[in-house]
Symmetry: C2
Subunit: 412 residues, 2 copies
């Protein structure tokens, strides 16, 4: 039998009624002849509650215990989903991560999946079981401890199962009906994409589109897993949602596929640090050790022998970055005049594989922003995306103007 | 290092504050030089919530999935307790049932513990870990599925660990400060016992005293595990609570140790069934198959060749018993004139190992009840207990009168 992986996120299993609705969708696929692997998240809110308890108990928690606690929500949903399917006369059973086993690294709270042996579940399929319900987000370390894959990790679980079982497709059921050209809450003309390439999806996910966990897209790209994002709240046809696939499968597409944004960014500038080999490594090594996720980096020459170093990071990591810099300075690792912090910036990006073959996208983007009077603070580019840091108050304006200018409301 | 087992019930870990208070108690024992195994229940209310979800999802649930769902509450508490201890600089880690592993039978929802290999945890103790926090109530079947031990099963987990690790003692922390001569809510003169024998505790637990799960007392008796019941809400001295131990360790005791009662009983009489060999087996086999827990049994001769069969059972099983009898009659297994049901009875029992050597306890009990005008409907006895079924409205009166008559408010 062909295998299909279906993943249901937290809002799709938030209540017993919603679990029933999800189970009905699973039943439809079973009726089509699939052996189905269902990956479930915790009921929405549950994981946050557990994380809250852990943080309140131990601010600098032992990540192994964190994982033991926060993984429990998925176990509940997996059992309830299996019971619901059984009530519908669909042969099903639940599997917790360690039962499969989903073998991961020992990097607790952000473990990576290393292997998913398929024999246990395949043996049950051979015996007539139609649905394996697997608790998402969790695995087991070589030491036999429970691990978790980081927030949103159930997407990664789903893609990894699809790869391990050679699934025909991996359907991600969520609370939106697909991937949009941008967030419809910011631009009402945002259009749902029927297809998007892995590369574009990866950029969009990294750049702040929350529809899929970045790592799950990486994994899908590497193993050529056809990913479909669709809503669990609507009746579904076979071509519903958005298919994330190889770019070869997309006949025509716009030069720009979407506009992504990330609201809560900060820009930090270290003024007048000595300009010597190794200074960047010293600064960004210090930030990394301090737990700061640096995004964009720009270096300006300030004066002879001195340089200014600018970076962006999530706004809630500013204090941490400041502390790390002060500590490094007092330890004599490097010195600087001052650290300028701008906590009111946002990042806006345009993404599209068409940029590889079309020139002028960057120029057009800068002109659009300039015409709207939006000052660009930092620019970074990759082969298929351009990102700019701007004042946060202009974020919505910039997204709307770019969406318009690149005609994203129109299909190619 | 000597090993101590400490078990904390649901009310003792109901909030993060209470977990902290429990952890402090654990810290006190660690400071005394013990390696401690802590057994935790789910936060109070959590297991009921999970059971409710399962019942709502699937009234005739697959017990394997029931177990997978309802065991999750203990995992949360175990992780939080380990984190709390770590915050207090006590080296600790959590263990879920399958990690130890707590090997059980495959009788899901009421599994029995078969073995608890001590090597994993002992190896950690040898490395310097001071506390192993174990999720109570759960284990793993030979098939690798999660099992649970039945409601109150964490007591059994605790005693089984104490036996497996040769623990010096098993302390059961709960919301009462020990075992009482009777329920203080019914008799204000009820007195906490300093010591009680395994046999007496077993009878009291079976007869309705809710302080310990019956099976845990059986296990403690078999493996000579010293059990102590004490409150997690009071400052504790070394001799706090009640010690459940071998009768040899109790120098002097009252003839009667306690008065137990069970409020929600029903009395059912099958009138005029044929009196032939095998009739009792047919009737009680039918009731057992129908899921009825029969307690007391009395047989009266009604007339030549016919007999009346009377039994008691929990009042919420009356409908089930009635249905089983009607089904058996229409299938021709046996016949009867009518089934008389009295749903307003309660069971009152006096328990004491002193009864073995003292005569007259039964006579005194019957006289006390008679003097109070309480009619006795059914009597059963064992070597160390006498139980009577009476009208429910007299239950409190009977308990108080017996408590007075046997001078249970006075220490021996």
């Amino acid at each position: 039998m062909p295998v299909l992986v279906m993943k249901f996120g937290g809002t799709s299993v938030a209540t017993l009624d919603r679990i029933r609705r999800a189970a009905k969708r699973v039943g439809v696929e079973v009726a089509k002849g699939y052996d189905v692997i269902v990956i479930v998240s915790a009921m929405s809110g549950k994981t946050n509650e557990l994380v809250g308890w852990v943080n309140e108990t131990s601010p600098l928690y032992d990540a192994r215990e964190y994982d033991a606690v926060v993984s429990s929500g998925e176990n509940v949903t997996a059992g309830l989903m299996a019971l619901t399917l059984q009530e519908m006369d669909v042969p099903a059973r639940s599997w917790q991560g360690w039962q499969v086993p989903v073998q991961t690294t020992s990097a607790h709270a952000s473990a990576r999946i290393e292997a998913i042996p398929s024999d246990n579940i395949m043996a049950k399929f051979a015996e007539g079981m139609k649905v394996a319900v697997v608790a998402g987000f969790q695995g087991v370390s070589p030491e036999g401890r429970i691990t978790t894959l980081g927030r949103g990790g159930s997407d990664t679980t789903a893609v990894a199962f699809a790869a391990a079982f050679g699934a025909e497709r991996c359907d991600i059921y969520t609370d939106v009906d697909g991937v949009y050209t941008t967030d419809p809450r910011v631009e009402s003309k945002a259009r749902k994409l029927d297809k998007i390439s892995f590369e574009e999806m990866l950029e969009l996910a990294s750049l702040g589109a929350k529809v899929l966990q970045t790592r799950s897209v990486e994994l899908a790209m590497r193993y050529k897993v056809k990913l479909r994002v669709l809503s669990s709240f609507e009746e579904q046809s076979d071509d519903a949602g958005t298919l994330v696939c190889d770019e070869e499968e997309i006949m025509e597409s716009n030069v720009v596929a979407g506009v992504a944004f990330s609201r809560d960014e900060a820009k930090m500038t270290l003024v007048s640090v000595e300009d010597r080999p190794g200074i960047a490594a010293a600064i960004f090594g210090t930030l990394s050790d301090g737990g700061v996720n640096v995004d964009m980096i720009v270096q300006n020459i300030a004066e002879e022998g001195r340089t200014d170093m600018t970076w962006s990071c999530p706004v809630d990591q500013v204090k941490r970055a400041d502390a790390a810099m002060q500590k490094a300075a007092s330890a004599g690792v490097f010195n600087y005049d001052e650290l300028i912090v701008d906590e009111d910036v946002a990042k806006v990006s345009v993404v599209g594989i068409g940029m590889r073959s079309h020139t002028g996208v960057a120029a057009k983007m800068f002109k659009v922003l300039s015409d709207e009077g939006v000052n660009i603070k930092v620019i970074t580019t990759s082969e298929i995306k351009i990102s700019v840091l701007i004042d946060r108050k202009y974020m919505e304006l910039a997204v709307q103007a770019l969406h318009d200018a690149f005609e994203l409301d129109k299909a190619s």
